[in-house]
Symmetry: C2
Subunit: 315 residues, 2 copies
């Protein structure tokens, strides 16, 4: 079994986080991951305070294990969301889509550990200076909103820049990726795409099916030109969007209109033709829907075996 | 010391290839790498038959160790180049920028081992079917011409798809990256950017200096819209190019004009403002110019130590 300082820090068995995917990461998924020994994370996303509190309480009622909440800093409800996670004394939050500086004091005072998701050395350094307890460093191969740097290039550069634990995210779906992340200096991994194909994940069967069937080249990054790159599975809408975006055939409003409500349509209605099926490049490796416990135990076992026989690579 | 089946196959000491970088990878660099125990590679690039033969003979006169040639399949001289590597009985060739199928028979008959550079599972499978002896799988974090998939996502997917040895390229510049690549299932690594900052690398001091000083976020991919993405260091020219490309402010001819001769200007004249300094994302990790022998021995040593103590990650 892989051990890591992040396990003691958060009171979890495996240093494996489940990504706080908007519209996807609900209490059901988070509970399944935390019960299996990883860190389940509820997506705060655009939930208002009341809805987020209900989701947190739903999870608390079903597990006494630690779980987290992902705070989307661009959410219109972010102030309420921070208040709720403080009041509900959630174990930790990960933060995405910006700089969480203004909320750090309140969260710390409430005993909520803060783990920002970063995609560059500069933000990693700034977050450490502000006293966060760990970082998720996420490569551009991830699904959803992405940065520029890849996991392979990003992790060692962040590890060299900070002293706090770094969790690697992006392109990881099996024990090989987990072991590789540890070699790069990470203390654990966060997986999103792998958990899209978990039995307990409530996304529509059409979306899950597309993840399982995806090949290596089946994702695309749209929105880069507008400064909000998002990795999704290629489909009719995203090809059309990409073409219009790249060739300047639609203005920002028209492009925005194309993606409006598109993530919900994919997740809830299973509209995989005009919906946004956010998904990472590693989907090509995933060919089976499995329960969270099996996902986590299999990955830990495979990584442990690799590390155990690592000296066989040596002469 | 790391051992690997690719070492026996090619008669090299370390499973470390030096990327066959156009305008950069000359006989001096290839000899230094091969003498240090890695696989030095001469860039065939746009050399005509005579010039390539001269470079190969220069290397042969200075080392009896194996070295390779990178064949750029879009070169106007590709037919002569293939003829020359066959006649000169070069140990192996790597091939870039396309599908080398039509040359495989001649190369095989001359005893030249063929190792295509691939960026997708489909090309990897096709190449294995055509009988190549190994593959370099290159992630998008690499410098120069790039594909879409990152090293972390690409390597395990290619390893699962083929039985021949896979060499990982992209985002690797130290022992952590080397060890991580082995965990992902690779049999070795190819490094380009790390060797840009080798003492024996003949690029202009200005270019080398930019590589050493580069931060994580200092590269950009231009040419994506036109279907020929190239990763380079950000500078006046590449920012201008990217803006014109993205906003449709210049047609293909104008864009082509901006980059014409730009790699030569960077490499030979040290023009780091309007030249193309091709460079990978891992440049941020490189802070020192070192001889090839030191680069290779340090990386092997660091990776060996990591693998030796890999069981310390286990409970």
């Amino acid at each position: 079994m892989i051990k890591s300082p992040i396990c003691e820090m958060l009171g979890i068995k495996y240093p494996i986080f489940q990504g706080g995917m908007a519209w996807v990461a609900d209490a059901d998924l988070a509970v399944a991951v935390s019960e299996a020994g990883g860190l389940g994370i509820i997506a705060g996303m655009n939930l208002d305070g009341q809805a987020l509190r209900a989701e947190i309480r739903k999870a608390s009622a079903r597990t006494d294990k630690a779980f987290g909440v992902n705070l989307m800093l661009q959410s219109p409800y972010i102030d309420e969301a921070v208040k709720v996670v403080c009041e509900e004394k959630v174990a930790c939050v990960t933060t995405g889509a910006g700089n969480p500086s203004k909320y750090l004091k309140d969260l710390r005072e409430a005993g909520v550990k803060v783990i920002p998701v970063v995609a560059s050395v500069a933000l990693a350094r700034m977050m450490e200076r502000e006293g966060v307890c760990a970082l998720v460093a996420e490569g551009t191969e991830s699904g959803g909103h992405v940065g520029e740097l890849t996991t392979m290039a990003l992790i060692p550069q962040i590890v060299d820049a900070v002293k706090i634990p770094v969790i690697a995210a992006g392109g990881i779906a099996d024990g090989r990726g987990f072991a590789a992340a540890l070699m790069l200096g990470a203390c654990g991994v966060q997986m999103g795409t792998r958990f899209l194909a978990a039995s307990e994940c409530n996304i529509h069967a059409n979306y899950k099916d597309r993840v399982v069937k995806a090949r290596d080249i089946d994702t695309i990054v749209t929105g880069k030109k507008g400064g909000h790159p998002v990795r999704v599975l290629k489909n009719q809408m995203t090809r059309d969007y990409y073409k219009k975006e790249m060739e300047g055939l639609a203005d920002a409003d028209e492009l925005h209109e194309m993606t409006k409500d598109s993530l919900r349509r994919a997740v809830r209605e299973g509209d995989v033709n005009t919906g946004s099926c956010m998904c990472g490049q590693i989907a090509g490796l995933i060919d089976q829907v499995k329960p969270c416990r099996e996902i986590i135990e299999d990955i830990d076992k495979e990584a442990s075996q690799l590390l155990n026989r690592a000296s066989s690579f040596l002469d």
